[in-house]
C-alpha cells in the first residue's frame, strides 16, 4: 500500500498523434473516470497531483514513460495498474507501479532517453555510407543547431547531449538510428532535432517514419538507472 506511486506506461501507434498537454488531460480524465483517490492541489483551481517524466511530442511512441501520482489515501500499486487500464483508451497501457518515497519527483530525476528513429531518405545509401556519416557526426567537437529554449530560439551545441549513436539499414533507403540522448529538465535533446541535425550535416533529405522512445533513465553516482530504482532515496 502506498500514497505516492510511480508508474510506467506505453503509448502505441493509435495514440501517437496527441501533443503533450493533451496527454496530461487524457490522464486526468482517465483518473477521474476511474474514481481513483487522487490528491488535488489547494486553491481556486484544484489540479490532480500528477507529474510526468518527460513530455511526449506528436508522433512519438514509447515503451516506457513514467509518472508520479499522489493519492489522498493508500492504494495497492497493482490495484492501481489494473484500475487505470480499465479507464485508459486503447493505445496507452500502464504496466507497472511502485511506491514512490524519494524526495525528487520523476521530472527532476530523468536525465537520459534511448530512441529508435526510423526514416526514409530521398536517395538510397549503402550501410557503409550511413555508418561513416554516424562516425563523422560523432567525431565532431561541435554540432550547433538552433534550439527552442526558454529565451526563444538559441544556437546550442548538441554534441555533448549525444551519448551514443548508431545506425543500421532497414531497406534500400530506410534507415534506423539508435540514439542515447541527454534528456530531462536540463539539456533535453529531442530525437527529431537530432535527426534534423544529422541529415542537415550530410545533406540528406529525410522523412520520419517513426520515432520510438525505448527507455528513460535517471542517473545517480555516474550510473544510469531505471526510474523505478530511484523511487526511494
Amino acid at each position: 500500500m502506498a500514497k505516492t506511486l510511480r508508474f510506467r506506461f506505453s503509448r502505441g501507434e493509435g495514440l501517437k498523434y496527441i501533443a503533450h498537454l493533451d496527454m496530461l488531460r487524457l490522464f486526468e480524465r482517465a483518473i477521474k473516470r476511474a474514481q481513483l483517490p487522487v490528491a488535488y492541489t489547494q486553491g481556486f483551481n484544484p489540479r490532480q497531483k500528477i507529474v510526468f517524466g518527460l513530455p511526449m511530442s506528436i508522433g512519438l511512441t514509447s515503451d516506457s514513460e513514467y509518472a508520479d501520482i499522489e493519492l489522498a489515501e493508500d492504494m495497492d500499486p497493482d490495484a492501481f495498474v489494473e484500475t487505470m487500464n480499465k479507464y485508459l483508451p486503447d493505445g496507452i497501457r500502464v504496466d507497472k507501479a511502485v511506491e514512490h518515497t524519494a524526495k525528487d519527483n520523476i521530472m527532476n530525476q530523468i536525465t537520459a532517453a534511448r530512441y529508435e528513429i526510423i526514416f526514409e531518405t530521398n536517395r538510397p545509401m549503402s550501410h557503409f555510407e550511413i555508418d561513416s556519416h554516424v562516425h563523422d557526426f560523432l567525431g565532431k567537437e561541435e554540432i550547433v543547431v538552433s534550439k527552442k529554449t526558454k529565451k526563444g530560439m538559441r544556437p546550442v551545441n548538441i554534441r555533448p547531449l549525444i551519448y551514443s549513436l548508431s545506425a543500421y539499414k532497414k531497406d534500400i533507403s530506410v534507415f534506423v538510428l539508435e540514439a542515447f540522448l541527454s534528456a530531462g529538465k536540463e539539456n533535453n535533446l529531442r530525437a527529431d532535432l537530432l535527426l534534423e541535425a544529422f541529415c542537415h550535416e550530410f545533406g540528406i533529405e529525410a522523412r520520419v517514419i517513426s520515432i520510438h522512445r525505448k527507455a528513460l533513465y535517471a542517473s545517480t553516482y555516474n550510473e544510469w538507472k531505471n526510474p523505478f530504482e530511484v523511487s526511494h532515496d
Binding site: G14, L15, A19, D22, R33, I58, G59, V208, I209
Partner: protein
C-alpha cells in the same frame, strides 16, 4: 460488401496541424462492425473538428442512432486546408473517424446546418467524399444526403445539393427515417421511391418534390408539390417531452482541446422572451424544460462516463429555468465534492445569479456579459428586448460591487427603425454605466472596464423582421466608424469591437435566399470559397464574382423590403409559428409596442398548437 478501411499514414499525419483531429479513437467513440448493421450514417459537421466536436446536437443524434443495433452513426468533419491538400494530392476520399470509410460508402451522409457561412464547406466535403454535389446527379447505390439544424428552416439555398431535409428536432424523426429506409431497401425500390416515402414523414422536406415558380421580377409566385401525394407544407417536428428522449451522458471525449470541451447539459429548449430579431426565440418554441432531477442524474453519470472536469448548463436564457435554485443546489454540492467546475452562461445578472456565481466561481472573476442589443430605450422596445437602462445600471453596479470589473455589452447595428441617435446611444450607454459606477464606494468606483461589441443585424426567416431590408454595407460601416470615433473621443475605459459588415451581408443573402442561390454557392465554391466564417479564408470578392456570373443581385435578397403579401422562399415550411402573429409583431415593432413573454401570458404565436411545454402552463390572454 466488405468494408474497406482507408490507411492514413504518418507521412500525412506528421505533416498536418493537430493530426489528432483526423484519427478518431477517442474515449466513448462507438465501435461497431459495419457488416453487422443495416444502415450506415455519416454525420458530417461542415467545419473544423474543434468546432464540430463542441456541438451538442451532433452528440445527441450520434447517441440516439447508435442505440439502434441496426444502425452505425459515424462522424466526419471538414478537414483543415493542410489536410485537404494531402487528401487531394493522394486521392484519398474524406472518411469517417470511426472506421476510416469514405463518405460515398454510406447509406446516409448527414449535415448539420448551424450557420449559413458553412454552406461551401458542405459542397467541399461532398466533393472530397466522392459524392456528386448535385442531388440529381446521385444514382442508385449512392448515399442520400440529409441535412437539418437551425438553417434548415429556409432550406431553399441548399435545395440543389440535399436530398432531404429534417425540419425541427431530430431525436424522434431520425428513427422514423431510418425505419422507412430499411423498409424501402427491403422492398428493392428505385432511389426516388425512398424520397417519396420520406416526404410523407412529418418534418421531412424533399426539395426535388416541389417546384418553385417565379414572377419576372424574381419574386416567387408559388411553391407547389410535384404530385398530390406530397404534402403542401412541411411541419416542424418537436419533441414533446424532453425527459422522454435520450440525452447522452457517454459523450465522446476528444484528445485535443475543442471550443466547448466540457459536459453540456441542455436545461430547456426554446425561449420565452420573443426578442423580435432573434430567430432562435421563434424557431424552438414552445419552451420545454428538462426536470431538475433528470438533469442532476445526467450530470453525475456524465462525469462518471467521461471524466470531464467541467459542466456547463446550456439553454437560450438559463435564468428563465423554473427550477434553477433546486438544480443549482444539487449541482453545486455534487461538483464541489467531485472537483468539477460548473459554468452558468446566459444568466441574467441579479442578486440571485451573482450569489450563484460567487458560489461556483472557483477561478478568478473575469468578465460578465450583457446583451442590451440596442443603445436606446426606444429601439429596445422596437425589438421587444424588455430591459431598461435602469435595469442595466443596477445589474452592472451589482456586478462591479461583487468584484466583476470586466463587462462586455453586445449590441446590433442596422436594426429596423434605427437612427443615428440609436447608434450614439450605444456609446452613451457605455459612458452612463461607467459614470454610475463612480458612485460606488471605495475600491470599485473606478475599476470598471467595458467592451462594447456590435454585430450587424441580419433579418432571418420566421422572425417578425423577415420582411425587413438589411442595412447596406456602406451604411453599417459608417455607423461602425462613427461609433468608434465617438467612443474614442469620450473615454479610454471602453473598448469597441465590431463585425465585418460584408460577411453579415452574405449571411443575409444566404439566410433568406431562394433556390437560385444554390448556383451562387456552387460557383463560389468552385472559385475556392470554403471556411467562409473564418476571417483568414473569407473572400468577399470571390462571392461577388459568383453572383455576377450567375446573373443574380445579392442586394435583391439582402437589402430589399418584402411585402407582407409576397410569397417567401420558406413559405411551404410550417414552423408552427403563424405568419399572422409574425406580421402583428412586425407592426407592433414599428409602434414600439412590447409583447409579454410566454411566462407572463400567451400571445397565441401558433406554438400552442404543439400542446406542450409552457403553452399548457401559461394563461391565455
Amino acid at each position: 460488401m466488405i468494408a474497406m478501411r482507408l490507411k492514413i499514414d504518418e507521412s500525412i499525419l506528421l505533416n498536418v496541424e493537430k493530426p489528432a483531429k483526423y484519427t478518431g479513437n477517442e474515449w466513448n467513440m462507438v465501435k461497431k462492425d459495419p457488416d453487422d448493421v443495416k444502415v450506415r450514417f455519416a454525420f458530417c459537421f461542415p467545419d473544423d473538428y474543434e468546432i464540430g466536436m463542441s456541438h451538442l446536437g451532433m452528440k445527441i443524434l450520434y447517441h440516439i442512432m447508435n442505440k439502434r443495433e441496426d444502425t452505425y452513426c459515424e462522424r466526419a468533419f471538414a478537414p483543415w486546408t493542410d489536410m485537404e491538400e494531402k487528401l487531394r494530392e493522394r486521392n484519398i476520399p474524406l472518411y469517417t473517424l470511426e472506421t476510416y470509410t469514405p463518405l460515398s460508402e454510406f447509406d446516409f451522409v448527414g449535415f448539420t446546418l448551424q450557420y449559413e457561412m458553412s454552406y461551401t464547406n458542405i459542397l467541399n466535403m461532398l466533393d472530397l467524399g466522392g459524392i456528386p454535389i448535385f442531388a440529381n446527379d446521385r444514382k442508385k447505390g449512392m448515399p442520400f444526403v440529409i441535412a437539418g439544424g437551425p438553417c434548415a428552416v429556409n432550406p431553399e439555398p441548399l435545395a440543389d445539393f440535399i436530398d432531404l431535409f429534417v425540419i425541427g428536432e431530430g431525436e424522434e424523426v431520425i428513427n422514423e427515417i431510418i425505419d422507412e429506409y430499411i423498409a424501402w431497401k427491403d422492398a428493392g425500390e428505385e432511389r426516388d421511391g425512398f424520397l417519396k416515402r420520406a416526404s410523407r414523414i412529418e418534418g421531412v422536406y424533399v426539395p426535388s418534390l416541389y417546384n418553385v415558380y417565379y414572377y419576372e421580377d424574381g419574386t416567387i409566385m408559388d411553391i407547389l408539390p410535384v404530385s398530390p401525394d406530397v404534402p403542401d407544407t412541411v411541419r416542424r417536428r418537436i419533441v414533446k417531452n424532453l425527459d422522454s428522449v435520450d440525452f447522452p451522458d457517454d459523450i465522446i471525449v476528444p484528445y485535443i482541446g475543442t471550443v466547448h470541451d466540457r459536459i453540456m447539459l441542455e436545461v430547456f429548449r426554446g425561449c420565452i422572451r420573443g426578442c423580435r430579431f432573434c430567430q432562435a426565440g421563434f424557431i424552438y418554441r414552445p419552451v420545454r424544460e428538462r426536470s431538475h432531477e433528470k438533469l442532476s442524474e445526467l450530470a453525475k453519470s456524465s462525469v462518471e462516463k467521461t471524466g470531464y472536469e467541467e459542466i456547463s448548463l446550456v439553454s437560450l436564457s438559463t435564468s428563465d429555468y423554473s427550477a434553477l435554485p433546486e438544480l443549482c443546489d444539487n449541482l453545486i454540492e455534487f461538483t464541489e465534492a467531485e472537483k468539477v467546475s460548473l459554468s452558468l452562461p446566459s444568466l441574467r445578472v441579479d442578486n440571485f445569479s451573482l450569489g450563484l456565481m460567487e458560489k461556483v466561481s472557483k477561478v478568478r472573476k473575469s468578465g460578465l456579459t450583457f446583451a442590451p442589443e440596442a443603445g436606446t430605450q426606444r429601439l429596445r422596445d422596437v425589438i421587444n428586448k424588455g430591459i431598461t437602462t435602469e435595469d442595466l445600471i443596477a445589474s452592472v453596479k451589482l456586478a462591479v460591487a461583487g468584484g466583476w470589473t470586466q463587462v462586455k455589452l453586445y449590441f446590433m447595428i442596422g436594426l429596423p427603425t434605427e437612427t443615428i441617435e440609436d447608434v450614439e446611444g450605444i456609446a452613451n450607454l457605455g459612458i452612463t454605466l461607467i459614470e454610475s459606477c463612480r458612485e460606488l464606494p471605495g475600491e470599485y468606483n473606478k475599476s470598471l472596464n467595458i467592451t462594447l461589441s456590435t454585430s450587424c443585424f441580419v433579418p432571418k426567416p420566421f422572425t417578425p423582421f423577415q420582411w425587413e431590408p438589411m442595412d447596406d454595407i456602406e451604411s453599417l460601416m459608417n455607423k461602425q466608424y462613427h461609433l468608434k470615433d465617438r467612443i474614442k473621443k469620450r473615454t479610454r475605459k471602453i473598448k469597441y469591437n465590431y463585425h465585418d459588415a460584408r460577411l453579415s451581408f452574405l449571411e443575409a443573402v444566404l439566410a433568406r435566399g431562394d433556390r437560385k442561390i444554390g448556383k451562387v454557392i456552387y460557383t463560389a465554391w468552385q472559385k475556392g470559397c470554403k471556411f467562409d466564417g473564418w476571417d483568414e479564408f473569407f473572400s468577399f470578392e470571390k462571392w461577388m464574382e459568383a453572383f455576377s456570373e450567375c446573373g443574380l443581385d445579392p442586394k435583391f435578397y439582402a437589402n430589399r423590403r418584402r411585402d407582407y403579401t409576397e410569397v417567401l422562399p420558406w413559405d411551404h415550411i410550417d414552423m408552427g409559428i403563424s405568419k399572422e402573429f409574425l406580421k402583428k409583431e412586425s407592426e407592433k415593432a414599428y409602434e414600439g409596442d412590447l409583447t409579454k413573454n410566454c411566462a407572463v401570458g400567451c400571445s397565441l404565436c401558433g406554438a400552442q398548437g404543439y400542446k406542450t411545454g409552457i403553452c399548457i402552463k401559461s394563461k391565455r390572454g
